[in-house]
């Protein structure tokens, strides 16, 4: 029972992070069919922001506020310099964003030097949940992530801008025909996705090894999330992260992490065969 409760909370931690990172990917996939391989670097930029603020004497919370801004700035520049010229060249976008990803990694290494960077969590210790005790910081992480996702959901469902975004995802030509500026919608949504990825990087920074190359693993995992869940919907995003995060957390108890990753990938590939458009295809009732 205790093991089950701990596994559940571990899974929730992982699911929260995957959903936050995957949000930007599902937006750029769903909106413009753009594959952004530099998305993992937004996570790294968020984590390095917290490290940098802390190394200047600032608090973790200040870092947590700066990280999404840094992510948004990086996302805005990437969209402006590179992606907007490659909307009709999907392979070109893949290659160019991969180049940017290598450049960003190497720049982080040149600026901050080699080796893992320490980030101090804002709170130490564990909380007593009755049945089990669990690290307090992870509980904070889960609640911040849940709040963010809820806010995003409300933004998409209840605001005019959200309506625009959902229209573009469902049918880009039709959205343009009714007068939505799809390119501006995409630019804003892209920077927003990058900001949320930066927030995710800041949230994991006390738990993970903060390295310039840390983004690649988040990139691979959150792409599974989008593929399994279906691109372009929040429900699909949550379904995909629950599948990948839950599966990984359960397997991590029994077998080595890399074997667990291999099994999750295999499961994702098999799922693609069974449900080619993901758990929640765009245009379905829940998208």
């Amino acid at each position: 029972m205790e093991v089950a409760a701990t596994t559940l909370l571990n899974a929730l931690t992982l699911i929260s992070i995957l959903a936050l990172v995957g949000l930007g990917l599902t937006i750029s996939f769903g909106l413009m069919n753009v594959t952004n391989l530099a998305h993992g670097e937004f996570v790294a930029i968020g984590a390095f922001s917290v490290y940098y603020i802390q190394s200047l004497g600032g608090s973790f919370w200040l870092g947590l506020m700066v990280a999404p801004l840094a992510g948004a700035a990086a996302g805005f520049i990437l969209e402006w310099l590179i992606l907007r010229h490659l909307y009709d060249r999907p392979v070109g976008a893949i290659l160019a964003t991969w180049g940017i990803s290598l450049i960003l990694q190497q720049s982080l290494e040149l600026i901050f030097g080699l080796g893992a960077k320490p980030v101090v969590p804002p709170v130490d210790g564990v909380s007593d949940l009755g049945l089990i005790t669990y690290p307090t910081y992870r509980l904070i992480l889960i609640s911040i992530a849940a709040t963010t996702l809820l806010a995003v959901l409300l933004l998409l469902r209840r605001t005019g801008f959200g309506l625009d975004i959902r229209t573009v995802i469902q049918n880009r030509e039709m959205a343009e025909a009714v007068g939505i500026n799809t390119r501006r919608a995409f630019a804003v949504a892209f920077a927003f996705g990058a900001a949320v990825a930066g927030l995710a990087g800041a949230l994991v920074s006390p738990l993970a090894t903060v390295l310039p190359q840390m983004g690649v693993n988040y990139l691979a995992n959150s792409f599974f999330v989008v593929i399994v869940g279906g691109a372009g919907s929040i429900t699909g995003l949550l379904a995909g992260s629950s599948f990948v995060g839950g599966f990984t957390s359960i397997l991590n108890y029994q077998i080595s992490p890399s074997l667990a990753q291999a099994l999750v990938l295999t499961a994702a590939i098999v799922l693609v065969r069974l449900r080619p458009n993901g758990f929640v295809p765009v245009g379905s009732r829940f998208s």
């Binding site: 996939f29 069919n33 594959t35 391989l37 590179i82 010229h85 490659l86 060249r89 999907p90 392979v91 070109g92 893949i94 290659l95 160019a96 991969w98 180049g99 940017i100 990803s101 290598l102 450049i103 990694q105 190497q106 720049s107 290494e109 040149l110 690649v216 693993n217 691979a220 792409f223 599974f224 593929i227 080595s256 992490p257 890399s258 074997l259 990753q261 291999a262 990938l265 994702a268 590939i269 098999v270 693609v272 065969r273 069974l274 080619p276």
Partner: protein
Amino acid sequence: MRDPSWLIAFAIGLLLLALLPTWVDSYNLTVLRDALIFGLFAASLDFFWGRTGILCFGHSVFFGLGAYIMALVSMTPDIPLPSLLGLLAGITGAGLLAGAVGYFLFFGGVRGSYFTIVTLALSVIAQQVAVSWSSVTGGDTGLIGIPPLMFGGLDLSGDVASYFTVVALLATVLLGLWALSRGRWGRILTAISDNEMRAAALGHNAALRLTMTFVISASTAALAGALYVAMAGLVAPDLIGLLLATEVIVWVAVGGRGTLIGPVVGAVLVQRAQQEISSFNPSLWPLIIGCVFVLIVFLLPEGVLSIGTRIRALFRRGAA
């Protein structure tokens, strides 16, 4: 590229490679030999990417799988014909993996970006498995002491002999892939990449054709990987990882996608540049590779060899 000009380029290249040992010393010959093996690897990716337009971001998985299987089989004690069995096992293993991936993805309707991403994830995971499954793969350090190529009594381990083995194999495979891609097979692939629904309406099984092309491409990559470990004598996780998967894309993109010869030239030139640059600052290389990616996309989408065509077009316009 038109047929005669491809064959002329092929013949000139082959002649050059055949005459090279007369004035190049044995150290540079082995460097070129290794570069040509990676050129074969680049051509294998080009056969798939260039013909179908679908980018595989994890081709190093097949190169590395061929390499590891070759190492494991040929190091098995008391095995008859270790080199031959190792090569065959490596090629078959990679072909089977590609067949499985192709079955689930292509028959599942996955094309384009999704395929690229799944194969990218495949190479991330393959490297993790190669590092952590240390009882078989030797972990981070890999395996050393892989026997050189021997077929019965035929010893191909000398510098010149191994160089000519690689050149002969490269030439044979290039000709085979070229014949395949300019014949009926290649035209069906072009039809599929132009408009899959129409190709399917004409009775072509697109998913099967893509899977078979992927299997051929992966098996060729495994052949290159197996050759490489037999020549180098060691295998390590960087032969299966994401960095190599990235570099092979650069070689193909620099040399020119869809030309088969271009990627070989690209592989040799880029590796030469890498050695020069890494010798004075090793951490500069990933930065330069990154810039090359961006520059190629924006300035030279057809590869470096296209500069010639462009200049010719410029002159023609000037003359007219």
